[in-house]
Symmetry: C2
Subunit: 460 residues, 2 copies
């Protein structure tokens, strides 16, 4: 009836020989593998191949596709077919799809859902983007404490499908309030005549709908859990969250953090899937902000143009001096931002961080200052470059400037993220440009001020 192999061979010119023999229904091909193939070929070809899959496979493959292809497919299919797929998705996959749609697109696709699903999606989209609610699966198995294990098993056989969410069974009271959770393995491992109440461990960790994804990551890690129940404020069980969805969330958080740190706005799609101009936009924004900030360096330097014209040699060390400030600042900022993201540090620890970083800055500044001093002495005495008769004073200027600038860089690098967090801003987003600009501009002022003090009356 359906033969993806031949279609693939015809429409896709790549090497899909590994998929030979695959007819979309065979057990030994995982939906994610089909998805990977579809994502890697031109959209038109993928669409054609997707259409030719049997309906059951379409529903299984759909959640593994990227959002761009999902939209393309949902628009290209007949309305009833698209509606069928969207309604058949598991609730978390459905939310993931709708979460990434905006405005009109979202409402158009919402109309394809049946009333129950539409209401549920609507409900969950009311929670913030970063909340646990956006990741939950609303299909889960519940049971009451009075049943025997044998009866509970019978109940599960009748009412629950063989899906991942049936790995843990939830015990609720008659109002739907969560009492406890039982891994399904206990139904196998314990005597079937025991009551459910007897195999509870009385310990149940749960998440609230409004908890952030970071809270969830922390809780999964702390309690070594694989699934956690999610309740509302009244402790009524609304859904379950599996750790693999949190793995994605943690990875996305880290990717955003890394990209922000590199001075790029977080990308919505992977690098390879991001269109050229939207990539430029994401990069240009920060690059311009940084550029405009750095323009202050030209202004700062223009205040010292008489010093530079008197002692050109001072200009030679400008890049070295300011890059040292920038490097030590970004080291400190990285350490603090990451420690805050992993909840190892909070704003309250600012005093501990400050003392520590001032001391670190001093130590690191002394190290770099000494190297800088030695560098000038060697170059001078081996006649590699002539810094003039006052080379010793110049070397001292570099020594003290490096100490001052590294200390200043370390201090601002560590405090700016904390201040931003205190102001409810995302430290990862805003720290890099702030630290870079601040340290470069003030670094120049420190350098030329120290030079003015030490070199006054000799070369200045």
């Amino acid at each position: 009836m359906m033969n993806l192999k031949e279609i693939s061979k015809k429409i896709i010119r790549g090497d899909f020989s590994s998929l030979l023999g695959f007819d979309g229904s065979k057990k030994n091909v995982h939906p994610s593998e089909i998805a990977r193939m579809l994502v890697s070929v031109p959209k038109e070809a993928a669409l054609k191949a997707f259409r030719s899959l049997p309906t059951a496979s379409q529903t299984k493959v759909f959640p593994y596709l990227d959002i761009l292809l999902q939209k393309k497919i949902a628009k290209a299919l007949t309305q009833p077919r698209a509606a069928y797929i969207l309604n058949e998705l598991s609730s978390d996959d459905r939310i993931a799809f709708y979460s990434l749609l905006k405005g009109v697109e979202r409402s158009t696709f919402l109309e394809l859902l049946n009333e129950k699903n539409r209401d549920a999606v609507h409900d969950i989209l009311g929670y913030p983007d970063n909340s646990v609610a956006r990741l939950i699966n609303t299909e889960f198995a519940t049971i009451s404490t009075e049943l025997t294990i044998a009866a509970a098993c019978e109940h599960l056989r009748q009412y629950h499908k063989d899906t991942e969410t049936a790995n843990v069974i939830y015990v609720v009271d008659k109002d739907g309030k969560l009492i406890d959770d039982i891994p399904v393995r206990r139904f196998v491992l314990y005597d079937p005549h025991k009551k459910v109440a007897d195999i509870l461990d009385g310990f149940c960790v749960s998440l609230k709908m409004t908890d952030t994804k970071e809270d969830a990551v922390a809780k999964f890690k702390e309690y070594d859990r694989i699934v956690l129940p999610v309740t509302n404020e009244e402790n009524i069980l609304l859904g379950v969250l599996t750790v693999d969805d949190v793995l994605d969330a943690a990875e996305q958080r880290d990717t955003k953090e890394i990209q922000n740190f590199g001075g790029v706005e977080g990308l919505d799609y992977p690098y390879v899937k991001t269109a050229f101009f939207s990539l430029i936009k994401k990069r240009a924004t920060w690059l311009i902000v940084l550029f405009v900030g750095e323009m202050l360096t030209a202004t700062a330097m223009s205040y010292f143009d008489t010093e530079i014209s008197k002692a050109v040699v001072l200009a030679l060390f400008v890049p070295l001096i300011i890059s040292s400030g920038g490097n030590s600042g970004s080291q400190a900022a990285t350490l603090i931002i990451r420690a805050m993201a992993l909840k190892e540090l909070t704003i309250k620890d600012w005093w501990f961080v400050m003392r520590r970083e001032v001391l670190s800055g001093l130590t690191l500044g002394l190290i770099l200052g000494t190297i800088g001093f030695i560098r000038i002495s060697i170059w001078q005495n081996l006649h590699l470059y002539d810094y003039g008769v006052h080379w010793f004073l110049l070397a001292l200027t570099i020594f003290f400037s490096l100490i001052g600038i590294v200390m200043w860089g370390t201090l601002s690098g560590s405090m700016i993220p904390i201040v931003l967090k205190k102001c409810k801003l995302d430290p990862a987003t805003s720290s890099a440009p702030l630290v870079a600009t601040l340290v470069d501009v003030t670094g120049l002022v420190i350098y030329f001020t120290i030079a003015a003090i030490i070199l006054k009356g000799t070369i200045l």
Copy 2:
């Protein structure tokens, strides 16, 4: 008999009122909560509190402690007690402990293990740090295909403990070769008279012992699995890996990547737990490497000292120019390194990346160049600073230099990680300093060369 509450109250002066009533054996306190309390108090107090726990709790709490406290405790306890705890740990927790020990310490503690455990630890420590082998749990439940579900359940009840690893049962042949995996829920959801062979789905993803942790993260994500079996080259089942251990591994990888990117050697412990001097050492190393690299900027600039003395105004723009190169370079490097870490890009895509980044660099350079040009024009015409009669030529110099430097920064930022990866070096570790130094030094050369061409005969 044992009363942690009072001991805690006496020895720890913090506020642990939330733990009042806790006696270390009550069901509603999770071992990780006890561990969190112990980790947050001075080591001596923690040790005293740990000693006072009943043995069963000690074994449960131990894996949640950090390695520093684990070592302290293992050394302070009597040998038989320490040996008991280390032997009772689950195999993955045991490996985690021994993985973080070095040299003599490792061998001393190895002697406390019984022969079976010692051999197993020895075996696994033979695999690379970054391999899946280091994370596996060697306790797992196996079964053969001929049994009925009811008989299989009976078998599990007799031979397996109620632990997380019993969530998925493995079907192996008589040589121990992996045939398939069954989530234990199927034993509940299907008719007990069916045979195990009837409820297999014929689809089994597995990992090899030598796969990297990154491979494992990718596979868990791709197949939406919670546990994966781990085999050797002959497909013999040796252990299982749960996704929560991979969550930690992924987070550690990202932390290392972020720290490397910020120019810090990856820390072994959290920021707050790292001793002052080991923190200085981790930071000083890269800071010195970067500093020595950046010294080339002083050398590069010294070649242009006559140009600078003729036109001091050129020096004013040095920080702006080189920071633009650095920023665009680190943007490109961040995007490429992250995309490679997430396996979105491979070395083979270099030509795609190169074309794209040259074009991005050109576009971004044009944007910054135009802003720079406008900045000089405005300052000149509003008399904010006097760049002299040849200000227009100077503005042109800045314009073309920015285009050249941003293109160069983008190109090196994107290609250096790929080249490093090709040379089997870690792109995250080495890219930041290489890109920064290279772009700064060559940026100066580009700037002064363009200046020499455009300004020859006027101000130069």
